[in-house]
Amino acid sequence: MLQFKLVLLGDSSVGKSSIVHRFVKDTFDELRESTIGAAFLSQSITIHPNDGNETKDVVIKFEIWDTAGQERYKSLAPMYYRNANAALVVYDITQEDSLQKARNWVDELKNKVGDDDLVIYLLGNKVDLCQETPSTETSPDSNEGGDEEQKVRAISTEEAKQYAQEQGLLFREVSAKTGEGVKEIFQDIGEKLYDLKKDEILSKQNRQIGGGNNGQVDINLQRPSTNDPTSCCS
């Protein structure tokens, strides 16, 4: 199993956590008002990379770090960015300035995370709010019976797509509410990361088989099963 750290970025209320919530729990909470924080969540997916005519299953576990609201006053700690393998930078397609803010977050990320292999995924969220309603005049009628207000798209797909291409970002428009595109995000990231890291992963596996690891003993110690760290002490 491969494990990767994934961080979330984007302005408040663009739906960062809703996307994770949809991915991890497969639910959507209507009452969510603003960014919410969780310690970190983990969720595994399986990808099917094709390595030399042979398809195999690779399990990828994401350790997903939410901002816990610390982004609101630009108070994210270095710890948050450290060793991140992937980042979801989220904007709201109905909020005009949210793509510009996402651009700032991309700059911040590139500045803070040293890894050149960092996979950045630009996500336009809330496509459910303006689906199939290019004309603003007709939208209220087509939504009869629904209590959800239709909104005007403020950021075109083309604009965001072009920016993503320039910066080498993955890009997709999604809806955390309906779940549209959410599973695919993580599948894309898993495959991209596997692609980027597979040489590293293979050489690490070989090294472990060989036994030598540059003199560095690299061992995980299980913490005691109770909360008292002294209980296993003899």
Partner: protein, 603 residues
């Protein structure tokens, strides 16, 4: 006991949010806690507690209060986390030194900095380094370690073992013999000494109960006790008091020294053959970030670059430099370095801690056990040519700790000596370390076989024979390449290991009488500055005392228990079995033979 003015616990305040049973069972936090709880969209205009300063104690306190259910606003005037326990880059240190010398950082004085041109414009960048303002080591059996696990903050951190403790004596660095096995196999120890040492170790593990042994010496010094009662010789006495006990001078009293020696011994072998741990990427600065993140998850609001200007105890309104205001219904807690201008209640910081931090371009692997990148070197009183009366402690971290790049090492030296003597002592210790290193690197490889030793259970220990040789006659041919030298004096109200007394925070008793007209800090509680203590031992005590001042009782200090994946499944939460979504529990690690390993670990 629940005092009448005790604030309701988190469970009591958010009954719809948390499933809980009756007291006193710990609060159970559902695994998706936080993600269920929408935060308010704007700055709170009213909070329960305002904390200024994101140092170690303040961060632990913020997390404890957030999980207890208090509404916390946690600010820092700096643009980084950590305050007095920050881990800083070289550029941040440069700014900090300027601020100290301008007088805008209180509690620090006399900062002197040298930075080689190799950092910044040369082969290293400022961000390659993470320098701690008050470095600490974590004992494997300690209150902070329990809280790291309970709060799950340990999941944000990585730890490495620290097993090498050197004592400098007669111009050489002896590696500590600290296990029974090592004592038995040490060929330099006379049989009688071995027996006496064993006797003492057996006693100290349960010393409190054996009053008949130590009580007669309660008011005398530890060295008298060891010499008279256990017939130990000076080298063993010094190792016990200064390397194992990490005491600061020969005046240390018996109960305190016994407690400190036991701390080391009981920590040994909890996670492996080492007593202490160090966190990667930085020490207290890293732990502070972890606790702040935990507090944020628990609902606290964070705002860096926010400076407190004043607090009015009558209206209970705190005012910040940017003009914003917040009403504080309970208490305002301030780090002494973040006190508003015109403060008149900041406690006197009468103890000096002198620190010298160096980055050396040399891997210095001879100081470390194989697989490790940390070591403690202790210079006992009288061991240096400056004739030091107080101990100088040197905490060494290599590139494996990720605070400096490959091929470099960081030396943190500190002493509790007061006044101008302190700098002389530190300089003498630095010179001794420099000499030892130069001799090591300049001599050939002819002694290679001696360096590698096999221990009884078959694994290799690189034990530098040469470090244990006197270098009295040695004349260095070259000088060591220093990349960075930072000297500063820190002031604190707490003597080392002077466990914080709760009366220290009693500024709020008889409020009216304590108010000073014109003071901008009437009615606030100040935290303590970090002391010289090299371990984290005072942190939890200080945070707990403050917690009690705010909540009314410390009964529910981190009294929480996170729900695990299994429990979710057992309680039948929908979809739980389809998803591996519990807060990561690191269940895929190996318990077998954990005692054998040294190196990186998760606790």
């Amino acid at each position: 006991m629940l005092s009448p003015e005790r604030r309701p616990s988190m469970a009591e305040r958010r009954p719809s949010f948390f499933s809980f049973t009756q007291n006193p069972s710990p609060l159970v936090v559902p695994h998706l806690a936080g993600i269920e709880d929408p935060l308010p969209a704007t700055t709170p205009d009213k909070v329960d507690v305002l904390i200024a300063g994101t140092g170690m104690v303040e961060s632990v306190l913020a997390a404890a209060l957030a999980w207890q259910g208090s509404n916390v606003l946690h600010i820092d005037k700096n643009d980084y986390y950590g305050d007095t326990s920050a881990t800083l880059t070289v550029d941040q240190i440069k700014r900090w030194v300027n601020e100290v010398n301008e007088g805008s950082v209180s509690c620090y004085k006399n900062a002197k900095l040298y930075v080689s041109t190799l950092i910044g414009s040369g082969k290293y960048s400022s961000r390659d380094f993470g320098i701690d303002l008050s470095p600490k080591i974590l004992f494997a059996k300690s209150d902070l370690l329990s809280i790291l696990i309970k709060s799950r903050v340990h999941q944000y951190l990585e730890f490495q073992s620290l097993s090498n403790f050197h004592t400098y004596e007669n111009d050489c660095f002896e590696k500590l013999t600290n296990t029974k096995q090592e004592i038995f196999t040490d060929q330099n120890l006379p049989l009688m000494t071995k027996r006496n040492l064993m006797k003492f170790i057996k006693f100290v593990l349960n010393w409190e109960a054996q009053t008949e042994i130590w009580q007669p010496y309660a008011e005398r010094t530890m060295s008298d006790f060891l010499v008279e009662k256990f017939k130990l010789e000076k080298p063993q006495v010094f190792e016990l008091i200064f390397s194992i006990g990490l005491c600061y001078d020969l005046n240390v009293k018996v109960p305190e020294a016994l407690q400190r020696i036991r701390r080391y011994l009981t920590s040994f072998d909890v996670y492996g053959p080492f007593p202490a741990l160090c966190s990667k990427y930085g020490g207290p600065g890293e732990l502070s970030q972890g606790f702040c993140r935990s507090a944020a998850v628990g609902g606290a609001t964070y705002k860096l670059n926010e400076k407190l200007v004043s607090f009015n105890p009558t209206t209970k309104v705190a005012t910040f430099q940017d003009g914003s205001k917040v009403e504080v219904s309970e208490k305002v807690i301030i780090s002494p370095t973040q006190a508003p201008k015109d403060s008149k209640h900041v406690p006197q910081q009468q103890h000096q801690v002198h620190r010298l931090t160096c980055i050396v371009e040399n891997p210095c692997t001879e100081w470390f056990n194989e697989g490790e990148s940390a070591a403690m070197v202790v210079f006992p009183p009288g061991s240096l040519k400056s004739g030091n009366k107080e101990v100088v402690q040197a905490f060494i971290l290599g590139a494996g700790s990720e605070i400096c790049p490959e091929g470099t090492i960081v030396w943190y030296l500190s002493t509790t000596e007061q006044g101008p003597r302190a700098e002389m002592d530190i300089d003498a210790a630095l010179e001794a370390m420099e000499m030892a290193l130069l001799r090591e690197s300049s001599s050939g490889l002819e002694n290679d076989e001696e360096i590698v030793q096999l221990t009884g259970n078959g694994h290799t220990i690189v034990n530098s024979v040469k470090l244990g040789q006197s270098f009295k006659e040695y004349v260095p041919r070259e000088r060591l390449q220093f990349l960075f030298k930072l000297y500063y004096t820190q002031y604190t109200s707490t003597p080392p290991f002077g466990v914080v007394n709760s009366s220290f925070f009693d500024v709020n008793q008889d409020l009216e009488k304590k108010y000073i007209p014109g003071a901008s800090d009437n009615g606030v509680i100040y935290t303590t500055m970090p002391s010289a203590e090299i371990s984290y031992d005072e942190v939890v005590t200080a945070a707990k005392v403050l917690y009690e001042k705010i909540v009314g009782s410390d009964d529910d200090f981190f009294d929480l228990d996170f729900e695990d994946e299994d429990e979710i499944q057992a309680s039948g939460v929908a979809n739980a079995e389809q998803f591996e979504n519990a807060i990561d529990d690191d269940d895929d690690v190996n318990m077998e033979g954990s005692g054998e390993f040294v190196g990186e670990m998760e606790i």
